[in-house]
């Protein structure tokens, strides 16, 4: 933690991320306007003292929608990463610890999933499951899971070579005890790093899918969807897209800076893909 706080970038990232999370959590109290209720008489008003970020074409307050939308955007990323960890953690653990044919089979499955570049696998899964926030979270969770499998596998393989693991086996500890007490505790570092980095990826993909209209349904506020809402009015009402856009960018930037700081502090040699 001390090493993390020494990094200027990570500190800057933590400050931005902390501010955005606090704004999202306090949204019900600081939004000042109902983010969903339409007010046609206030349509497309520029930023002012009354409406900090202006209003959209339905007269809804962009500040209220941006801080409220942050809750959903952040939650989508966190849930997607939790899903990918739930899918990828145990296979990674088993592949790394057991090796042999189990490792070979899991390894080939991971290779196949990683052959789908970038957003493509998430997009294909959402295409099949249909639009909707839960499906977006599931799709991103599935598509990021091979990264968890690979990383956990690698970390377990490196840890199981240590003499304290051999000693634990020699005194007759069961596999469950060796894994739970000796290996798990020692792979928490790299897992923390990958979780942070994956959160940035998950948010990038989630906001993209929401921007493409495959996630939340209107009028629910969400950064990617709100940005899409204003894209046809950028000449006359740039603020509708600009504020959600900057919030997405700064959130991902902050997560990446914290991720880099964590990697440098915990495991500088860690390779993530």
């Amino acid at each position: 933690m001390r090493r993390l706080l020494k990094s200027g970038g990570a500190l800057f990232g933590l400050a931005i991320l902390g501010t955005i999370v606090i704004l999202a959590l306090l949204a019900p109290w600081i939004a000042r306007f109902d983010p969903i209720k339409q007010n046609p008489r206030q349509s497309s008003r520029p930023p002012s003292a009354e409406h900090f970020f202006g209003t959209d074409r339905f007269g809804r307050d962009v500040w209220a929608r941006t801080v409220t939308g942050g809750q959903l955007s952040l939650r989508t990323g966190i849930v997607a990463v939790a899903v990918s960890m739930a899918i990828g953690f145990v296979p990674g653990l088993v592949a790394g610890y057991r090796g042999g044919w189990i490792d070979a089979v899991i390894g080939r499955l991971v290779d196949i999933m990683l052959a789908f570049p970038g957003i493509l696998l998430s997009l294909a899964i959402v295409a099949a499951l249909g639009p909707g926030l839960e499906n977006v979270q599931l799709a991103i969770g599935i598509s990021l899971s091979p990264t968890f499998v690979r990383l956990v596998r690698g970390a377990v393989m490196a840890t199981k070579q240590n003499s304290y693991v051999e000693a634990a086996r020699a005194i007759g500890c069961s596999d469950a005890v060796v894994l739970g007490r000796h290996i798990l505790a020692n792979i928490l570092g790299p897992v923390t790093v990958i979780t942070t980095v994956a959160l940035g990826w998950a948010m990038l993909i989630a906001t993209s899918l929401n921007f493409l209209g495959m996630g939340v349904h209107p009028p629910i506020p969400e950064w990617g969807a709100d940005l899409a809402l204003g894209r046809d009015h950028m000449r006359t009402a740039w603020w509708i897209s600009a504020f959600p856009g900057f919030f997405i960018m700064f959130t991902i930037l902050a997560i990446n800076l914290v991720g880099d700081g964590l990697r440098d502090a915990i495991d500088p040699g860690l390779e993530i893909r």
Partner: protein, 308 residues
Amino acid sequence: MLGYVGKRLLQAVPVLIGVSILVFLLIHLIPGDPVLVMLQGSPNVTPEMIAEVRRNLGLDVPLAQQYWSYINRVIRGDLGTSIWTGQPVWREMQGQWLSTFELTVASMTTAVVLGVGLGTLAAVRRGTWVDSIVMGISQLGVSIPLFWSGLILIFVFSLTLGWLPATGVGGWQRLLLPTLALATNYSAVIVRMVRSSLLDVLNQDYIRTARAKGLAPRRVTLRHALRNALIPAITIVGLQFGNLLAGTVVIETVFSRQGLGRLAYTAILAKDFPIVQGVVLVLVLVYVLLNVVVDLSYGLLDPRIRYD
């Protein structure tokens, strides 16, 4: 060499078979009856029509048999038929691939030039303000979503300055903004890789020897260091090419540009699954084969690598 090429291609076969199974299974992930989901919203759906679509998609036989006939068709170049236009999928793709190819090649070239150039600059000027600015820009580059960088470029260069058209295909003017949007993002990753790999190489003994011989610093960096630093960078370029291909779905949509990405996007919205499957399969195939080519290129850059 030829043996190695064959071996590397053979290694890609199980992955491609796995990918084909996943792509094939996509249609079975659809909750409920996939035919009814696909025909949702179309007027006058009759039981005969449902049966015909089911037969055309081969969904009226057992799963294993479905995959077998799917893979046989794909190997012959038959990617199926569009539900909505009735045209073969390859014909739908035929009118689109050139535009996507043009965009990806232009973006990759720009990303490599920017990435290698700025990465080298940052490494050579390590610890100075130049390094800080380049790394700051690259950090921002990996953090900015494609759709947002695309919209910023449209806002500045089309809507505000009026220098370039915002949408469509044809001529370098319409290619420039989507290329910049894609290249900014992907060059950022290349910058980081080139910088760190060049910094490693610059500490090697042979670089010290080259400097001790009195060679000009530029010659040491470009002839001796950069060439050796490019191998990890080439791997990243290969991996990034896939991300770039996938990124065309977003960029072609933002810039209303025709192409495979936009075709996939409109097909997803229209629930035209044969097209979605076809585009996804082709993009993954190109990505996997390109990474085989990347593997083979290592030997050209580093003569110590032997194809045994």
